[in-house]
């Protein structure tokens, strides 16, 4: 079926990576679907995102990666330290450990300190169809002697950016990949980087967690 959809240009190409489709997270999957065809059907997809950060006096700096120009989705955009979809049969922590190693050379001895900090959820229409995504969010405070290094070619460069600059670029530009903006805003709310009396605070604090049906 996906072959036919690719031939008809309804799906851009096979990704050769399949996602489980289940009535709810944690239930036995009903079928598997190639990742490229997921938006066409609008089934829910799950991912893991890692906010890497360092404290600096009273402030924070965030690890930001630049996505390769060769990426099919969001080429050249800025990204979290680690992010990846949860392929069929794989667990959340397992995906985090694997992606942390491939994308940023974070060893298991460091990634085990990552703190699960919730989930960001959204549903949106894109050129390719509906994205109904749930992103499990982790935070990792990295030690002074750590610098990420990409191994799989998906990130061309990492830098440590002051949180204030990250938030200003989220506010004023489209530099970050669309859903990374949401993950970092959630980080900013949880770490007290936004003022509660900002007129947009409640929209941010309540808008990043779409209750799941």
């Amino acid at each position: 079926m996906v072959d036919g959809l690719v031939a008809d240009n309804c799906v851009p190409k096979w990704r050769n990576e399949t996602f489980d489709v289940a009535p709810r997270w944690g239930m036995p999957p009903v079928f598997r679907l190639d990742r490229g065809a997921v938006p066409f059907f609008g089934t829910r997809a799950y991912g893991v995102h890692l906010n890497g950060y360092m404290r600096e006096g009273d402030g924070l700096r965030l690890w930001v990666g630049r996505r390769s120009p060769a990426k099919q989705i969001a080429p050249n955009k800025l990204d979290n330290l680690v992010a990846g979809g949860i392929g069929n049969g794989h667990g959340i922590a397992e995906t985090l450990v694997k992606e942390a190693e491939e994308e940023a050379s974070i060893p298991p001895s460091l990634i085990k300190h990552a703190v699960p900090a919730g989930a960001v959820s959204y549903r949106m229409e894109t050129r390719l169809g509906i994205r109904d995504d749930v992103l499990f969010v982790y935070d990792l405070e990295t030690p002074a002697d750590f610098a990420p290094e990409n191994r799989d070619g998906e990130i061309v460069h990492f830098e440590l950016m002051p949180a204030s600059e990250v938030l200003e670029r989220i506010r004023a530009t489209s530099d970050f990949k669309f859903n990374v903006n949401l993950v970092i805003l959630d980080f900013a709310v949880r770490h007290g980087l936004l003022r509660a009396d900002d007129p947009e605070y409640l929209d941010v604090a309540t808008g990043l967690h779409r209750p799941l049906d």
Copy 2:
């Protein structure tokens, strides 16, 4: 009008504290309503809740207050270190500082370290009508030489409870005031106290932040 509703037993009694009613938070209020009549009309109400905690090795302990048996709402239930409704004309931080002093004798020099960490929102039906509440949430790590002391008679006792015990009582009992369960679950998600692979994790992580209309 509230006099008439109290006479008809539609509203239990005057609270002599008014809440602003506005189309959205931050917009000029259209009118003020006695707090006791808010559920009858189902207008949105705003509050501030403070999670007080101490680190202990790898774990956390949370400050828990027991509400006075004389309280009209949720007598004898367990509560956050500080919690209060935002009365008309008052700001979020202003309410936090005032309630922190009255309810727990937290001085301004300590409460200024409270970190805004988001908002919990819900809409529910109660015996008195609809509650459509938004709670601004703050966290405060308290120093070793601090012990809360109630001044206004609303809390009869404070204790420092291991987070694991707090979560077990939330899971298995109705010991905590209904909305304090939500505030503490949000704290637990943000501080990595829940496992992301728990089957109920996503319901908790996405269910505490009802997007506002």
